[in-house]
Structure formats: C-alpha cells, structure tokens
Amino acid sequence: MNHILVAENVSKKFGEHAALSNISLEIPENCIYGLLGPNGAGKTTLIRIINQITYPDTGGVMFDGQPLAPEHIATIGYLPEERGLYKSMKVGEQALYLAQLKGLSKAEAKKRLKYWFERLEIGDWWNKKIQELSKGMAQKIQFIVTVLHEPKLLIFDEPFSGFDPINANKIKDEILELKKNGTSIIFSTHRMESVEELCEYIALLHQSEKILDGKLSDIKKAYKNNVFRVGLNVNKDGEQVLAQIKSQFDISTHQYYKDENQLDFSLKLPSPDTAIALNMLTKNGTINHFEEVIPSANDIFIQTVNSKTK
C-alpha cells in the first residue's frame, strides 16, 4: 500500500513544553484519516508541521515518497480550525488571490472558481465583500479555496463548524466525492459521529503522544470485550432466570418487563465463544436479539484517553 504521508519520530517542543513526542504515523493514499485527540494533544502542531508552517525539532516527514519540501505546499490543501477571510476584500478577488498563492494561474483559478461557485450555489457573490456574507456562506468560500488547486492531500480541521446541518451534509458529500476522485484526506475533529461516518483510519494523540492508530474497523475489533446486548422472552419467572444467568455470567444492566415476560440485559462473556451462553439462554425462553456491542469511536476515545491520563 502506498502512503501519501509518513511521519517518523516527529518531536516538537515549545520552550519546555513538549507539543509532540516521537510521533510516527503512516497515512495511506486515498483514504480519510481521522486525527483525533483532546484539546492540546498536539494535533494542530502536527498539522502545521505537515503544512510546513512550523518544523519538527527531530524526526522527518515523507510526502508521497519524498522528504517534505516547500514545493509540496502546492499539492496540499489546508482548512485550519482558526480560519477567516479578509473582511473588506471582495469575494472573487480574495478567492483568486488565495488560489494564485497556491500556484494556480489567474485564468485557471477563475474557471475553477466559477465551477465551484455554481456547484455550492454561491451564485453572484463574486463582487460582494466578505463582511456582507453570512457565516455559512463565508465557510463555503473557505472550503472552495481549500480544494480549488486540486491537492493530493487535504487537511480539514473541524470542517463542519459554522455550517447548518443541510450545508454540513453538503460539505460531507463533497469530501466523500473528493476521496472518490483519489484525494487523500486528513480529518481532525471532535465530532465522533462524523469520524464514525467518514474515517477509515484514525490516530489518537494525547498529551503529545500517539496512543492509538490504525484502521478504525481493526481498532474497534480490538476494543470489543465480549459484551452482548440480549433480549429474551422468558418462559418462566423472569427474576428466577435472571438469578440463574447471574450465577454463571456477568450482567451489567438489566430490565425486566413483567407484563410481556421480556428480559433485556447486557451480558459479558469470558471469551468470544457464545455457544454456552446461547445454549443456556434458549432453555429459558426465546431470544429476540443477541448482539455484540461494538465500541463506538466515542467510547474508544474516552476510554483510551482516560486510561492514559496521568
């Protein structure tokens, strides 16, 4: 598998404060890579290093198989969390300026801007000033400016902030579309539901260290702890059944609906083998559902970070 970006032992200190300690990451080509972590974990510093805004003290970054160099700037697009536009500059002029700074010719930039303005329904705002725009509109323009030069690697830091749900969805679709067209995407956010939805890979930073990384589905598998959510329609007294199960297995939460003879509970098994448990359960009634609990990205995030907090 090719990697768009490989970081090797990257460290960065600000005075006495370590922002990144020995971070190594491999970001595969053409995937959406979630860069997660609590505030102050070092995500922004890492992103700034990739954008060559700051430089690592030690360690190195390879971009598309080469050491990261100034000419790569034109092939990276970055939407920072702290973003904005010149308030008193006209929308079109501003977008052209930012596109030209990324190395596009004026004519090419204009052509692509027209296309994107239509695509995101921005319409005739070309000659308006940013201060006349709504926040969502300004964010759209910001998004366009980020992707306009068709970078190989896109870095989005909280891309959905400032959007209403409809426009957030639109932007999400655009991100998926970009991925489909071959772009690699680094995605940094605190909104775990969008991580769940978008990311194939994640890395979790905490207190300047990487504490977890890999394919999201693999991580989830690794974080499974044989907990099952069970619904059982009992054929005798529920309390009795519950006591019987409790004597053999761990049960965390349970609910007994007496009228319907329905018993719902979470079951923790000592191993992934479910045969014994199922066998026992079927004797006591009919199983409505028996479902393995897969930890959400949110659970993994909280669990891992809490376990590592010193």
Binding site: I53, Y78, G84, Y86, K87, S88, M89, L98, L101
Partner: protein, 446 residues
C-alpha cells in the same frame, strides 16, 4: 518570488483602495495648504495691527527718542494734565499712555516715568520702551563723562567678525543651521513615514490575526514572505500617497498664492511652518538682503545628489528596520490597544534622534554627540541626514563615518529583520493573552 509579488500587490491595493486612505490622501493637501494660507493671512493681519502709545512728555530729556517702528507708533500730547491725557488716551482707544514728568535730572525723570495701560502691557512694547530708556540713560551718563552725541553713535556700532575656511571660502552665519534644517527636513520625513506607515504595517498584521486568515495564508507562503510583502506593499502605498501629497500640495499652494495674492516673502519668516513646529523653536537668524546672494550660493553648494542618494539609502534601511519591528509587534498582540507598551520603545529612539539631532547638530555638526548618534543604527537615518548637507570629506562628514553608519545600518537591518521574523512567525499563530517581553524572548528560541 511570484508569491511575493502577489502579496505586495494585494497589500498595495488593499491599502490604496481603503476609504480612509483615499480621503486622507486628498484631504490632507487641502488641509495643509489651507493651514499655510491661514497662517500667512494671519501673519499679514497681525503685522498690520499697530499699537499706538500716547506720550505725555513734560521733560526735555526725551524729545527725540520716540521713533515709530513697525508695530508701535507714538502720539505726542502737549499741555495736558495727566488726568486729561489718561482720559483722551482711553477715549481714543490707544494702547497706553507713557507719562514722563519733569524732574531735575535724567535719572530722576526716568525713575518717575509711568506707563499706563488698560491691562498689563505686552512684553514687546515694554521691552521696546525699556530699550529706549536704557539707551537714553547710557547716553546721558556718557555725556556726563564727556562723550559727545556723535561719539556715542560711533560707540554703538555693531561689529561682526569676518570668518573664512582655510581654503579661503567666506563663511556666512547661520549656514550650518540652515543646512541642518534641510537635512533635518529629510530626517523628519523619514521619521513621519516610519511612524505612519509602520503603524499601517502593524495594523495590517493585526487585521490578519483577528480575521483569522493568517493560517490560511501561511499554509501557502512563508511567514517571512508575507511579512516582507506586507512591508513593501504598504510602503509603496505610502510613497504613492507622499507623491500625491507633494504634487497636489505644491499645485494647490501655487494656485492659492496666485488667487489670494499672498507674497511668498511673508512666509519666509516662518519657513518651516508647514513642516515642523520643532524647527520653529530653533529660530533662524534672519539673513540680511545683501547676504542673500551668498546664502543662495551656499545652498547651491549643498551636495544635493549625495543628499538625495543617501536619503534613499537611509530611508529604505531605516524604514525596513522599524517596520519589521512594527510587524513583529502586530504579530505579538491581538488588538491595537495592547500595542502601546511595545510602541513606546520604538518611538523613543526616533524622537531622540530628532531632538538630539536638532540640538547637537545645530551647534556642532561634527561634535561627538552628533557623530555618535549618526553612527548608532536606530538614530543614524535621521541624524546622519542632518549632517550630510555639509558634504562628505574634509569640511563635512568623514567618509569613514558615512560608510560605517551605513554598514551598521545594514548589519542591524539583517539582525532586526531576522529577529522580527522569528517573533512574527510564532506570534501570528498565538492568540489570547498579551505576551510579556520575556515571552517574546522565548519565542526567539522556538
């Protein structure tokens, strides 16, 4: 390089299109010319106002002493009592009444003389009258010692020493001051430019921080490029503004002079009024008419090409040094109110240069203080320019001093820009509290 050009272009256009910039550019010459015309007009009005002193002279010691001057004229009263004279003076609306009673001696007469005015008299009149009495008293005493009136007139002759340089050029008085004022004018221009446009650079940096566009930009260009582009773009806008000012102000002034028929000579009494109030403090000796030719020659001898050339060098280097400091300050803070504490230390050397320059260069253009300040890089752009009208070489600034000061300036420029760029690079991405000097120092090591 291409990116730098883009940045310069944007900064230039952003500045030039700014409404307040446009208004300032076109309003300032009008205001300035209006002020000059007003001053000229007021001077004219002021000059034409004569104060009239009535003199009730009962003695004969002072019969020929009161000759009218530009600002005072005298009316003699005769055969009136003091009370009548007072009443008539008031009813005629004259400024005051000088009463000289008849006494036995000149001294006694002078001692019992009174000046009556409505309010306490203005100093010019008092001085003038006192001078008349002093002269008369001196004459009287000398006469007692046997000096005739004619001899007395001879004694009073003023004397001026003839001066010359060793190679035989005749020196004229005040030329050093005039030269320093000319150089000072250039120096002052540099200072104004630094303060105004350095401030623009700073505000522009702060704007990028507060609008949060900064990180978007520096993911495309190097912070140093952005800083440099900003400084150059803003100063080009400034030069445009200055050019418009100079052109339109001179045009307007010319038109105003024609229309109002104000003689330019009226203005020559306040030659620097439009530029600098500080220059006014150092009053120029009024050149006598027969010396005019010589002054013109001396002015002609000022090495204008050298002066202009070094003005450009000192301007560029000085401006770059200061505006990169301004940019660093802008990067270090979040809003303009926080800048005060950092701006004062920058303005200090500039003010020092102007004041020290005017005091020390005036009295001695090549004295130790003048030399020291013209070598010190933060003041040299201003002070050296004040010394340069004397030329470079034997009678002027020694060549080594000129070259050393430029060398110092270049070294400082490189050092300061390097430091400022470091602070800028870190500062633009820092939000929140205002940094202390210690924190700024720490940033240098990031």
């Amino acid at each position: 390089m291409n990116k730098l050009k883009l940045i310069i272009r944007r900064e230039y256009l952003a500045k030039v299109r700014n409404k307040s910039f446009v208004i300032m550019t076109f309003l300032s010459p009008i205001l300035m010319v209006g002020m000059i015309v007003l001053i000229a007009f007021l001077t004219k009005v002021n000059d034409s106002e004569k104060r009239i002193i009535t003199v009730l002279n009962e003695s004969d010691y002072f019969s020929n002493s009161f000759n009218p001057t530009e600002s005072i004229s005298y009316i003699d009263f005769r055969d009136l009592t003091l009370e009548q004279a007072k009443d008539s003076t008031v009813s005629m609306g004259n400024y005051g009444l000088l009463y000289i009673p008849m006494e036995k001696s000149l001294e006694a007469t002078a001692n019992s003389t009174f000046l009556y005015t409505k309010e306490s008299p203005v100093s010019t009149i008092l001085e003038r009258l006192e001078t008349i009495f002093q002269n008369r008293l001196r004459q009287g005493r000398l006469q007692e010692l046997g000096v005739s009136a004619k001899d007395f007139a001879d004694i009073d002759e003023e004397f001026e020493i003839n001066t010359s340089t060793f190679d035989g050029q005749q020196n004229i008085k005040g030329i050093n001051e005039i030269k320093a004022v000319i150089g000072g004018g250039f120096g002052y221009l540099i200072m104004m430019f630094i303060i105004i446009y350095g401030g623009f650079v700073m505000r522009s940096v702060i704007e990028e921080k507060t609008s949060r566009i900064i990180e978007v930009i520096i993911s495309s260009v190097k912070p140093f490029q952005l800083m440099l582009g900003k400084i150059i773009g803003t100063s080009l806008a400034g030069i445009t503004q200055f050019a418009i000012w100079i052109f339109s102000a001179s045009l307007l002034l010319f038109v105003a002079m024609l229309l109002l028929d104000i003689d330019l000579n009226t203005l020559s009494a306040n030659p620097m009024m439009e530029q600098n109030t500080m220059v006014n403090m150092a009053a120029l000796p009024e050149p006598a008419d027969n010396d005019m030719q010589q002054y013109a020659e001396e002015l002609f001898k000022i090495p204008w090409a050298l002066l202009l050339g070094s003005f450009i060098i000192y301007f560029i280097l000085g401006y770059l040094i200061y505006s990169s400091i301004y940019a660093a300050i802008g990067a270090a803070v979040d809003n303009e109110t926080d800048t005060q504490q950092f701006i004062f230390p920058i303005i200090l050397p500039l003010m020092l240069a102007i004041y020290v320059g005017f005091f020390s260069v005036f009295s001695n253009p090549h004295g130790p203080i003048a030399v020291g300040f013209s070598l010190f890089p933060l003041t040299s752009p201003i002070v050296m320019l004040m010394r340069l009208p004397g030329g470079i070489g034997e009678s002027g600034v020694p060549l080594w001093q000129f070259l050393t000061s430029i060398l110092f300036l270049i070294v400082t420029f490189l050092g300061i820009v390097w430091l400022a760029a470091k602070i800028y690079r870190v500062g633009i991405l820092m939000y929140g509290k205002k940094p202390t000097y210690r924190e700024l120092f720490k940033w240098l090591k990031y």
